[in-house]
Amino acid sequence: MDTALILHFLTTPLVFLIWTTFLKTFILLNVVLGVVSVTVFAERKVSAFIQDRTGPNRVGIPMTLLGGKKDIPFWGLGQMIADPVKLLTKENFVPAGVNKFFFWLAPKLVLLPPLLVLAVLPFGSSLFGVEMTIANINAGVLFIFAVTSLSVYGITIAGWASNSKFPFIGGIRSSSQMISYELALGLSIIPIFMVCGTLNINEIIDWQIKNGWLVAPYWPHGFSLGQLLHPHDLIHSLVAGVSLERFLLWIPLMISFVIFLVSIFAETNRLPFDLPEAEQELVGGYHTEYSSMNFASFFLGEYAAMFAGSGAIVSIFLGGWSLPIIPDGSQGWFWGLVNIGVWFAKVSVILLFMIWIRWTLPRFRYDQLMKLGWLGFFPIALFNIFLTAVILAVVHH
């Protein structure tokens, strides 16, 4: 076979779709697992700074091992590699009384859902004409909800299979925590469907590019790079952006945003809602009996869930990969790369916010979480749907 034939084969629509999808999956998976490592490092560093400590600052390039005089500390960045290596080389201890099958199954069940969520998140516009979403499906948001709620099975099974009281309490807490906030999480997103009229995340982002981010009440209409050269058009677009509808809709959309954000914290078991883990009361919660790579899977799952949750927040509320003025990938590969960078930057901001929250707030009490979910967020989210409907009805008639 000569090169032309191979090239022709690779550019056949179906084949092209298959190999680009595999490539995207492979790259995204590796990037995300790397990001997890960086997030853990950032978590340790930020927590240290918040508590007036230095945090990890020693592990760098071990020059003394290579015959040098002094190690290069490198701001402790080597910790990102040292932590996984430590976890990998530890003994994987399985207690005698556990249900072996479920004990081994649980970490995988926790790790899998957040990675599946990444499949529908658009992490960029397009690069060389290839769409930067692994699966552009019409039920994208529903897919996220369907998959993320599965991770609670992993936690509950881990708690139950460990045959130990603290993990068991952790697992039970996780399942009841899930039903307290999952309803509010699902309902909080309905106003977005009513405003954008679609469940497809890519279309939600397109809507936001045209009409502005969902959390921004004012947005210049059809603002672009070319307009900067034409002041007349610029003023026109600035004025056209002011609309009563957007300002009125901003109220329910902000309520949705707050509920969604808080629910994502609960979804990813982050403080102030890390009741299934609760180091101080439950030793380590559901993963008390786990060690080595099994424990690392939980760890990885938790941070991948943080990443996926942040990705969902960014894609749905904060305009995804878009920034005002910056064009999308159809204007050239450079802008495609910029869009990917913008998405990762936005996700990093949300991740930092999550870390910041963790080292600020104490844990909610168990009943307080239930009360917040059932008596706080659930009715507010329901009311929010009607509020949005009324606003839409009044404005359009």
Binding site: A48, F49, I50, D52, R53, T54, W356, T360, L361
Partner: protein, 176 residues
């Protein structure tokens, strides 16, 4: 008698948590920002920076042997420390001081004096029991070794760590 503590009445703003959350975030942000510019960090970088100058006079570090101002070793190998040592870290081999020695009058001194620092619990009983005030707990705390043999302080090491103790010592001073 049971004390009744009434729950405080919360205002509407307090019930929403959010103002308190923002106040907390502001505080942690302040600390984060300060630490980013390397200010306000209280961590001491241990092997490079040490707290040694601030150790109190009565600090109980590694037990050592001392000589007096005349260079005479104070220990007369009565072996009281060996007997009182709770973890049995001390081993003494006594010897007669030879006839031609200027300190013949003292009669005995240790031929070998070993303290196993892997066993020592830094209790200070050896210092308290010593009738000759020959053994003192000094301020060395970082005693390390690569094997058990390296953790044993022999007589030479003990005198090197201990140094000279001049004049009267107030052993029963409660701060010592």
């Amino acid at each position: 008698m049971a004390i009744v503590v009434n729950r405080p009445k919360l205002t509407t703003a307090e019930k929403f948590y959010l103002p308190a959350i923002f106040a907390g975030l502001a505080i942690t942000w302040k600390h984060l920002k300060r630490a980013l510019f390397n200010k306000g960090i209280v961590t001491m970088q241990y092997p490079e920076e040490k707290w040694d100058a601030n150790l109190p006079a009565w600090y109980r570090g590694a037990p050592t042997l001392v000589v007096d101002e005349n260079g005479r070793e104070k220990c007369v190998s009565c072996q009281l420390c060996e007997f009182i040592c709770p973890p049995r870290a001390i081993t003494i081999k006594p010897m007669e001081i030879p006839e031609n020695d200027p300190w013949r009058k003292v009669e005995k001194r240790p031929e070998a004096f070993d303290i196993d620092m892997a066993r020592c619990i830094y209790c200070g009983l050896c210092e308290e029991v010593c009738p000759e005030e020959a053994i003192f707990l000094r301020k060395d705390y970082s005693i390390t070794g690569l094997n058990r043999a390296e953790m044993v302080h022999d007589k030479e090491t003990l005198y090197k760590l201990g140094g000279v103790m001049k004049g009267l010592t107030f052993k029963w001073n409660e701060l010592k």
